[in-house]
């Protein structure tokens, strides 16, 4: 029994208005599917059904692409950059005004804590629109050629881990550069995308510029294979990314992929230890570890391992797991039963292969999908938990003796999305960052995002960059490499 129990502090759900079911958002309106069935979307923290959304069919994709093509030809490409920017600013402001509504809805549909949707997802999503609104009339000066041209209609497929934020990462640069969009949110987290469709209406965005189709992988495949789409942007698993790359290879479609990762968080002996512990927590337990750039491999210098792990255990025992809508919750629900099974399967492989599992005592709710914050010690590079992306709150602890050994182990992965460096020496940060094959490298921090900073991976973590000036090039024609 703790002395200082925090009484429940639940965020009210009164602000959200969830319809019993949703149609597809095509050509500026919600329209019924041609032959598509409806499927349920649930709250993973309670397993209660939130609503029903539509499984978009190939015919629906075709309708959406037609609407996007018409919009591109008739309205969107006729506007000046400044006029496009005006719409983006408007969308950004409406998102800020409705931030609490988005935050609550995202937490309900995804299972992530309200503290994270409130303080990270939604503010960053709005920031992406603000940032790209500013670029819309300055593309000539972006160093991407004289009057760079958009692709036309782009197809975008986004994951369930940061539903609205990933939408913003995709839609904002696409619109700023003059493209029109057909977007599919993830099967388990469609609701904030549908609320975003309302925001597009509220902002008077010309019809057909943004089309939102809910559905599963088959809807995604129909988007990828549609001949009317000139560019595909995908964020998700490396497995699906490879399939998309194969499909697109025989077409003229441009492609950017933001895929999996197995980020190394490298802790040198002179690291500021308390802040490092916070960084480790933020690296792997932020968003239940459902983060492609998570610091899921902890590479710690052997001579400080015991001290660091002792501090880490102490800190992990303070992590508050439970109701995502409680303002004091640190770790929410796993997004789906399928994802929970995958995490369990990989964690069990850690036990089977001889690694040692540790989790703090925590009372997990009975209903819903939960996994406690966990780390494994005694992990070798050959273990599955050191190589495969778990996409859950599971950390693999690996030791190293010298800086070059740290680099070798960090780079010894098919992925190359993110890495972290913790040291008090500036020169060592620069040296290490130069050796690491990762698209994003954080020094003495982790999981910090900014729309001005390009994000993307090496190797099997993907192609292309999102965000910043570099991210604009993905939505403009030409070879900017």
């Amino acid at each position: 029994m703790m002395k200082f129990e925090y009484a429940p502090a639940p965020e009210s759900t009164a602000i959200v208005d969830i319809a019993s079911d949703y149609d597809l958002f095509i050509d500026g309106k919600f329209v019924a599917s041609k032959g598509g069935k409806k499927f349920e979307t649930i709250n993973p923290a309670t397993e209660k059904v939130l609503s029903k959304v539509t499984q978009a069919t190939t015919a629906d994709v075709d309708r959406a692409v037609k609407a996007a093509t018409e919009a591109y030809k008739k309205s969107w490409s006729k506007l000046s950059g400044a006029q496009r920017g005006k719409y983006l600013y408007r969308i950004a402001r409406i998102m800020q005004e409705r931030a609490r509504e988005f935050a609550v809805l995202e937490s309900m549909d995804n299972g992530k804590p309200i503290r994270e949707t409130r303080d990270t997802d939604i503010p960053l999503a709005a920031a992406h629109f603000f940032y790209h609104a500013g670029w819309a009339d300055k593309l000539d000066y972006a160093g991407l050629g004289n009057s760079p041209k958009p692709h036309g209609v782009v197809g975008q497929i986004i994951p369930w881990n940061f539903p609205l934020l990933m939408l913003a990462w995709k839609v904002a640069p696409a619109l700023a550069t003059g493209n029109t969009v057909v977007l599919k949110p993830a099967e388990t987290t469609p609701l904030t995308a549908l609320l975003f469709a309302e925001v597009c209406q509220q902002a008077d965005l010309p019809k057909g510029v943004v089309n939102i189709l809910t559905g599963d992988g088959s809807t995604g495949a129909a988007i990828v294979n549609h001949p009317g789409i000139n560019k595909i942007a995908f964020t998700g698993s490396t497995e699906v990314g490879k399939l998309i790359a194969k499909s697109v290879a025989t077409s003229k479609k441009a492609l950017t992929l933001e895929l999996g990762g197995k980020g190394a968080n490298i802790i040198f002996e002179d690291a500021p230890i308390d802040e490092t512990v916070e960084g480790i927590i933020n690296g792997i337990y932020f968003n239940q570890g459902h983060v492609c750039c998570a610091g899921s491999r902890l590479l710690v210098q052997e001579n400080i391992k015991d001290e660091l792990l002792e501090k880490l255990k102490r800190r992990m025992s303070m992590i508050r797991v439970g109701d995502p809508l409680d303002k004091n919750t640190d770790l929410g629900a796993i997004n789906s039963a399928a994802q929970l099974m995958k995490i369990r399967e990989l964690a069990d492989s850690g036990d089977a292969e001889g690694a040692e599992r540790w989790s703090p005592q925590c009372n997990l709710p009975e209903k819903g999908f939960w996994f406690p914050p966990t780390f494994f010690t005694g992990v070798s590079q050959a273990h599955r938990i050191a190589r495969e992306e778990i996409f859950g709150p599971v950390l693999s602890v690996i030791t190293f003796r010298t800086p070059s050994e740290a680099i070798e182990k960090a780079n010894n992965t098919p992925y190359g999305l993110s890495a972290g460096i913790w040291t008090d020496k500036g020169s060592r940060i620069l040296w290490t960052a130069q050796q690491l094959k990762a698209g994003v490298i954080w020094a003495n921090t982790f999981n910090k995002f900014d729309p001005a900073s390009p994000f993307g991976g090496y190797k099997e973590s993907g192609w292309g960059r999102e965000g910043g000036r570099h991210g604009l090039s993905a939505y403009l024609k030409g070879d900017f490499s």
Partner: protein, 312 residues
Amino acid sequence: MLLTDGSESSIKSFLKTLSPVDQVGAEARAAMLATRSIKTSSKLWAIETAISMIDLTTLEGADTPGKVAALCTKAVRPDPTDNTVPHVGAVCVYNDMVKIAREHLDNNGGKEIPVAAVSTAFPSGRASLEVKKQDTEDAIANGATEIDMVIDRGAFLAGNLGKVFTEIVCIKEICGDRAHLKVILETGELVTYDNVRRASFLAMAAGADFIKTSTGKVSPAATPPVVLVMLEAVRDYFQMTGQRIGVKPAGGIRTTKDAIKQLVLVNETAGPDWLDPKLFRIGASALLNDLLMQRMKMKSGQYSGRNYVTLD
């Protein structure tokens, strides 16, 4: 465990073994903990706990016996309309008011409330060691059972760590088992978190029973990241030595919200063991009335006017 033999070189090499503090990370952690939402029963618990942790303070040149007597009355019964409100942790005054405070507390049902005296040429600390010793001796002789001494920040910043250490050791010797020693770091003058961490360990190794942020005369004072760093220091010192040292933030904590944030910092950094007036105090004056008003609001459901809480 002996961490240092007190020589300049051994203090320096001990402090060099400490992990550095990353400013951005420490501030981010403190900011995150400030988002904790403390409601209903936990808020009431926090308010009453905070009241019991207050070192109710008056440190003005204009202090008079009458003012100190009024403060003492308030310390014993913070809310005259409700005797379920706990008394404060201590009364903190200048040396010449110690006797007055002690007598007034004793005569008004506050025998168990200690009197803390600010000592060693408070607030600047710019006096000879002899004067500082005399200052402390005088306070204890008049009935102070807690001594809030200041460190020589000039010596610390100049790297004369031995001097800072020796002064604390000398004052601790005078205190003996007669008085608890709180060592004021004046973090607003030490500026960096690395300095705060080093000064915290130096003070603890020299014999501090408490480490205290500030005199209240320098701004910034008890900012959440500074308190975070000091709480980490006492937690780590406990790991090293098995000895629990207290922490006292002072200066700038004026509202119930501020105080609750401090308790959250304690709870999630040093841990629940420190949620005790023996190990955590808040140096404040105006804070008490805000806590009382918030408590009344929680009990009655409505806010009372300022005149429903007493002036000090």
